[in-house]
C-alpha cells in the first residue's frame, strides 16, 4: 500500500497504534504462556503469589532442573538466529530432502529441534563456565507431563481424541463437500430452504439436541433388541455414536462454508466436463476436487476444531476409558487432592492446547481464509 503524503500518519498516531497492538498481543498470549510456565514448575512455585517466583521457579531450581544465565543466553541466541534465518535454513535443508511441502516443513522443524539439543549439549561441554554467568536462575521440571501422560492415562484419552476428531473430520468432509457442491450448483428454492434450515440448526444450543438422544442412547440395547437381538449395542459411551452426533452438529456450518467455496469455482469447468460425457459425480471427482483442495482443507480445519474442542457432547455421551481429552480435564480438575494434582491439571491443559498451537502455526492462512469466507463477498 503506497502511502501518499496526504494519507501519512503523524508519528504519535503510529506510535500509539503500535503500542496498542503490542498490548493486545500481550493480552492475547498471556494466559496461555502463563499456564505453560506454571506447568513446568513445582506446585509451590506455580501457585506462588509472586510473579517473579512463578517465572524463575526458585524452589524448582533447587530441587529439580535449572538453566543458568549462560544456558539461557544460548537458548535465546539460538531462537533469534533461527527465526531470522529460517527461510535460508529451509532452502538449504530442502536441497537434501525433497518431499511435499507439508512433509518437508515437519521434518525441518523436527530436525531443527534435534540440532538444538546437540548444540546445547556441545555448548555446555565446550564453552568454559564463567562463574558469574553460572547462577542457576530458571527452574523447570517435566514431571507433571509425565504424571499426566503416563500415570493418569492421558495417552489413552489422546488416542480417543484422535479417533473421534479424525472420524468427525473425514465423515463431515465427505458429506459436507457433496452437499456443498450440490447447493452451489442449484438456485432452486429447495436449496434455499435447506440452507435456511441449516442456519436455524446451527443456532441450536447443543444441550437441546443431547437431551433428545441421551435417553435413546442409554436404552438403545433394549429398543433395538427386537431388531438386532442380543447384539443390540448400548450407544452410550461409544465413540462411533459421538462421531455421528458431532458430524451432524457440524453439518450446517460445513455445508454453508463448502458452498461458498464452491461458488468461487466457475460452473463452466464441470459443465465442460459433462459435455465431454462425464456424469455429475465424475466431473466432481476429476475436475472440481483437485481445485477445491484448499477449501476442503480449510473446512477440515474447522471440523477438526469442533471435534477436538467439544466438551458438552463428549462429557455427556462418553465415559470411562472412551473419554476424549477435553472432558477428561474436568476429571483431573476434580481430582485435586493436593496442589500437585492441580499443577497436573494445568499440565494437562497445556497438553490439550499444544496440538492446536501447532495447528495455527502450520495452517494460519487457511484458518484466516475460512473465517472470512462467506463474510466478505467477492
Amino acid at each position: 500500500m503506497i502511502e501518499t503524503k496526504s494519507m501519512k500518519q503523524p508519528f504519535s498516531l503510529k506510535l500509539s497504534s503500535s503500542l496498542f497492538v503490542v498490548i493486545w498481543c500481550l493480552i492475547a498470549s498471556f494466559p496461555i504462556i502463563w499456564i505453560a510456565v506454571m506447568s513446568i514448575k513445582l506446585p509451590i512455585d506455580a501457585f506462588s503469589s509472586n510473579p517473579i517466583a512463578v517465572i524463575f521457579g526458585p524452589v524448582t531450581s533447587n530441587q529439580r532442573y535449572s538453566l543458568s544465565f549462560q544456558e539461557l543466553f544460548f537458548c535465546t541466541l539460538f531462537a533469534v538466529l533461527f527465526f531470522k534465518f529460517r527461510e535460508q535454513l529451509y532452502t538449504f535443508y530442502s536441497q537434501f530432502i525433497k518431499f511435499s511441502y507439508s512433509v518437508n516443513i515437519t521434518f525441518f522443524y523436527i530436525f531443527s529441534i534435534i540440532i538444538f539439543y546437540f548444540a546445547f549439549k556441545a555448548f555446555n561441554y565446550f564453552i568454559p563456565v564463567i562463574d558469574v554467568l553460572n547462577i542457576k536462575i530458571l527452574g523447570y521440571t517435566f514431571e507433571h507431563y509425565q504424571t499426566v501422560w503416563i500415570e493418569r492415562g492421558f495417552s489413552n484419552y489422546f488416542k480417543n481424541s484422535v479417533i473421534v476428531t479424525f472420524g468427525v473430520v473425514i465423515v463431515s468432509l465427505t458429506f459436507g463437500t457433496l452437499a456443498g457442491f450440490a447447493l452451489a450448483r442449484t438456485s432452486s428454492s429447495i436449496a434455499f430452504w435447506i440452507l435456511v434450515i441449516a442456519l436455524v440448526f446451527r443456532a441450536l444450543p447443543h444441550s437441546i439436541l443431547v437431551a433428545g438422544y441421551l435417553p435413546f442412547f442409554m436404552n438403545s440395547s433394549e429398543i433395538l433388541r427386537p431388531i438386532l437381538g442380543d447384539l443390540a449395542p448400548t450407544f452410550f459411551g461409544k465413540p462411533y455414536a459421538v462421531i455421528a452426533v458431532l458430524v451432524a452438529i457440524n453439518q450446517p456450518f460445513t455445508i454453508w462454508l463448502m458452498r461458498s467455496f464452491f461458488q468461487n469455482i466457475p460452473s463452466e469447468l464441470d459443465e465442460a466436463a459433462r459435455i465431454d460425457g462425464c456424469s455429475h459425480f465424475q466431473a466432481f471427482i476429476k475436475i472440481i476436487m483437485p481445485i477445491m483442495w484448499p477449501g476442503v482443507i480449510t473446512t477440515g480445519l474447522f471440523s477438526f476444531m469442533l471435534g477436538y474442542n467439544d466438551y458438552l457432547v463428549t462429557s455427556l455421551l462418553l465415559d470411562g476409558q472412551n473419554q476424549t481429552m477435553v472432558p477428561a480435564i474436568s476429571g483431573l480438575f476434580n481430582r485435586d487432592t493436593s496442589t500437585t494434582d492441580q499443577v497436573v491439571a494445568v499440565a494437562a491443559a497445556v497438553s490439550i492446547t499444544a496440538p492446536l498451537f501447532l495447528l495455527v502455526l502450520f495452517f494460519q492462512k487457511q484458518i484466516v481464509s475460512g473465517l472470512t469466507a462467506g463474510a466478505v463477498k467477492g
Binding site: S17, S49, V200, G212, A244, L316, V360, L371
Partner: protein, 341 residues
Amino acid sequence: MKKKDFYLFIIPSLLMMFFFIAVPLAIVFQQSFYITQNVFQEIEVETCTPGFLKQICKTEIQTKPKLDLNGNLIKVSIFVGLENYKNLLQIEKLKKAVFNLSLNEIENITFWKAFRFTFTFCLITLPLVISLGLLIAITVNNLTQSIKGPVIFISLLPFIITPIIGALAIRWLFVGEGILTSFIEFFLERDIALFASAWTLEILMIIYRVWHVAPFAFIVFYAGLQTVNKETLESAVIDGANRFERLRYIVIPHLMPLIIFVSLIHLMDSYRVFEEIVAFSSQAYVISLQWLTYDFLTPDDTGNRLINRASTSAMLTMVGVTIIILPLLKRTWEDYREGKL
C-alpha cells in the same frame, strides 16, 4: 443440476441432519410434556453397615423402585401437559416479583436467573467484541507488512484455544491468590475475592468471552479493510475530512455488512454460553440457559437424569434462539431475493 443428481449429492448430509438434529428436536418437544418416573414400592429392608467397632444393623421401611423380570428399572411416562413449563417458569412467583419490582426475587427463580444472565451476557459482550475487533483490525492494518503475519498468529490464539481450557486459564489467573488477583490486590491494598460474588464472576466471564471472540471479529474486519476504496479516502482528505471523520463516514459504512454478520454470529454463539460456568465453578452465583439444560441432564445424587425437565428447559431456550436468529434469516432471505446469495 438435475434434480436426481442434486438429491443424490445432498442425501447423506440431509439424513445426518434429520436424524441427529430434527428428530431429537421433535423428541425433546414431546418429552417436555411428559414426566418419566420409576414405580416405587414400600418394603421393609434390613441394612447392615459398619459401625466403628461393630456392625450396625437397622430394619426399616424404605421406598425402593420396582424392577421388572429382566432386572431393569420399570419406568412409566405420564402425560402432564404444561405442568413442566409451569414448574420451571414459576409464573406466580414471577408475577409477585415483578409486582414488587425486585430483581432479587426474580433471580431467585432458577430459570429467570439463567435467562437474565444469558440475556445481559449477549448484550454486553456484543459492543465490546465489535469495538475491540475493529480497533485491533485498524491498528494491525497500520503495521509494517513483515510483522503482520506473526501478529495475526498471536491474535488467533485466544480464538483457537479450547473454550473450557481458556476459561480454566482465566480461572487459575484470578481465583483465590492467583497471580492477577494478587496484582490487583497490590494496587488496591486490600483483599479481594473475585469468585465470591456474582457480579465479579459475570465480569470475568465477559472478559473471557471478549478475549476469546475478538480475534474472529478482527480477522473479518481486517479482511474488509483491505477492500476499502483508496480513492474515496483520498478525495475525503482533499475535502478536508480528518482521520476520525474518514473512519466514521467511509470505513465504517464500508464495513457495515461485516459488522452485522459478526454481530449475528456472535449473538448466536454467546447465547450458548456454558463452558464459562463449568470452568469457573460458578453454579451458586451465575448460571446460563444452556447450563441449566446441561445440569438437568447430568445425574443427580440418586443417579437419575431429569430428562423431562431438561427437555422443558431446552424448549424454552429455543424461544430465545428463534428471536435471535430472525434478523439473520431476514438478511438471508433478502440476499436470496436480490440474487446475492
